[in-house]
């Protein structure tokens, strides 16, 4: 009886524990290059997790998430350049604050619309930020971007060797933030609010007629989503060492969409899996051929045609098959 009752929990732990061990062991097992790739994957994972609160749970496809990610990254760069801040915790707090403000401003406009209109508006607004970063080069460094040095973590000065800092100290720091983000998002999507978002996704008219003020809920989801992207942007800045307009441009928003589709936006962990998989895919595709965009494009086409539910959809199918055959 008790076994039966705890079955879902045991089943979850059966894969969470090995994954946690693998993530904790990674820097000691694989080389720094692999660790950094994984690190990028985790950082993007946080952004896509936020993005998917809109796509997977609220039914809104944003083509402008680069705006909030980029806002997070540039906030860090500005804090370094103009306020001489070096503390990662202050970077995170500042980035979340700024991305919340921007996503609130943009969100108020965007959530009045749905579907293609919503997508186009998010894209257009994100391009405004990009052009600001691009044109006001005396403030933003233009295409050269702004340098972001290694930050202090929890008040402790960073290791002198940058590679060692990133692959160990910073890796574990990001892993901790990542874990907190996953837990927070998991609670949000399983809260009454998360249920209400899914109701809006499935049928907005009915949602309205059970007393849910849909625009307000969409706006809150939009801001939470933007905050996650902003946080990811802040974590990305020291890793990349540079905040450039590349992370504000709409093609990066497209990559975020790609990651969610690749992992499977119908599942909670799909976006994370997609972010890590995409990072590896892109890293190897770029190393493998100069026509890497072509390779990624092919993957996307195959994905949409053959695996519309992404990697996690495929995993679920396989698990179901194995269970049936037993």
């Amino acid at each position: 009886m008790t076994m039966e009752k705890h079955r879902p929990l045991l089943r979850t732990l059966a894969w969470v524990i090995p994954v946690a061990i693998a993530l904790l062991a990674a820097p000691h097992v694989v080389g720094p290059f692999q660790t950094l790739t994984l690190l990028y994957g985790l950082v993007f994972g946080i952004a896509v997790l936020g993005f998917n609160l809109l796509l997977g749970y609220t039914g809104l496809l944003s083509f402008g998430h680069s705006a909030y990610f980029g806002a997070g990254a540039y906030t860090v760069a500005f804090m370094v350049k103009y306020f001489k801040v070096a503390s990662m915790e202050l970077f995170l707090a500042g980035s979340v604050l700024i991305s919340v403000i921007i996503s609130l401003l943009f969100g108020v406009v965007c959530v009045r619309y749905t579907r293609i209109f919503f997508g186009i508006l998010t894209l257009a607004l994100s391009q405004v930020l990009w052009s600001l970063a691009f044109k006001f080069f005396w403030v933003t460094g233009g295409t050269d971007g702004l340098r972001v040095p290694t930050p202090s973590l929890l008040g402790a000065a960073p290791l002198a060797d940058k590679m060692e800092f990133l692959a160990f100290q910073y890796y574990y720091y990001v892993l901790a933030v990542f874990t907190v983000c996953v837990i927070v998002m998991w609670v949000i999507v399983h809260s009454p609010f998360g249920k209400a978002l899914q109701a809006i996704r499935d049928n907005e008219t009915r949602a309205e007629f059970i007393g849910i003020r849909i625009r307000r809920y969409r706006l809150i989801a939009f801001v939470v989503s933007g905050a996650f992207a902003g946080l990811a942007g802040a974590l990305w800045a020291p890793l990349n060492g540079l905040a450039t307009p590349d992370v504000l441009v709409w093609t990066f928003s497209g990559e975020i969409v790609f990651m969610a589709v690749l992992g499977g936006f119908n599942s909670f962990i799909g976006p994370i899996v997609g972010a890590v998989a995409f990072t590896y895919l892109k890293t190897y595709a770029v190393g493998f051929t100069v026509y890497w965009q072509l390779l990624l494009g092919t993957v996307l086409v195959v994905l949409v045609l053959a695996l519309p539910k992404g990697i996690m959809g495929m995993v679920e199918l396989l698990v179901a098959k194995v269970r049936r055959s037993r």
Binding site: F193, Q198, D202, R206, F209, G211, I212, Y217
Partner: protein, 263 residues
Amino acid sequence: MSLLATQALAKAFGENRAVNSVDFTVKQGEVLALIGSNGAGKTTLVNLISGLYRPDSGSIVFEERDVTRQSSYGRIKAGIARSFQIVNLFDQLSCLDNVALSIFSREGKTLKLAALASRDRAVWDEAQGVLRQFGLDPKAAVPAGAISHGERKLLDVAVAYALRPKLLFLDEPTSGVSTREKAPIMDIVSAIVRSGGITVVIIEHDMDIVFRYSERIVVMHQGAILADGSPDEIRRNDEVTTTLIGTHVTGEPAFENGNHAGH
């Protein structure tokens, strides 16, 4: 005492006066049927009262408060709920979730981000109870998109009922359901609303259903009220029988709906 009263309520779509100066009252505790041929203005009237449309003129008074300018949200909070002619459910969510959402919303809990929905035992117990009342408890875990049409019609009513409204509009609760299934659905629905003391307005085309389950009948024709009376009075009313001949043939609602969708 009237629970709801509209005065000179009007709504036009272009040249089409869908609802033309209608005085419509609903008394506390009654089960009222709103009938009329396609395009008579029944659904438009309900859409005006529930707040989906804004009236061109006239007023709506609910519990002696003017709600004409109130948002649909405000009207739901005041106690007006409705089901839909074309089933409107949260298809990817389970039947239990569909009902639970109404309860979370009614209790003002849907803005909680930092609590797990599954921990709120009271809500789930109540939702389970509502499903049981509607005979849908075996389907609790099944997505609403995967149950039969008859069950979906019932669930649609259950979702509105779970809001514990004072006044419930049921827009064709048996449309698209086979004749054999209609009576069981109406038996369940009428038993529940009567035991809950809920005032109900049913829009229905099937005259057998109308005469069997309602206490008062309001007949609409071309945007206006043609007759209002007990089932016996309506049955004897020649004007009504002449106007409504042939309309209780089932499977029609496409026209009225299509008509509104364009506006």
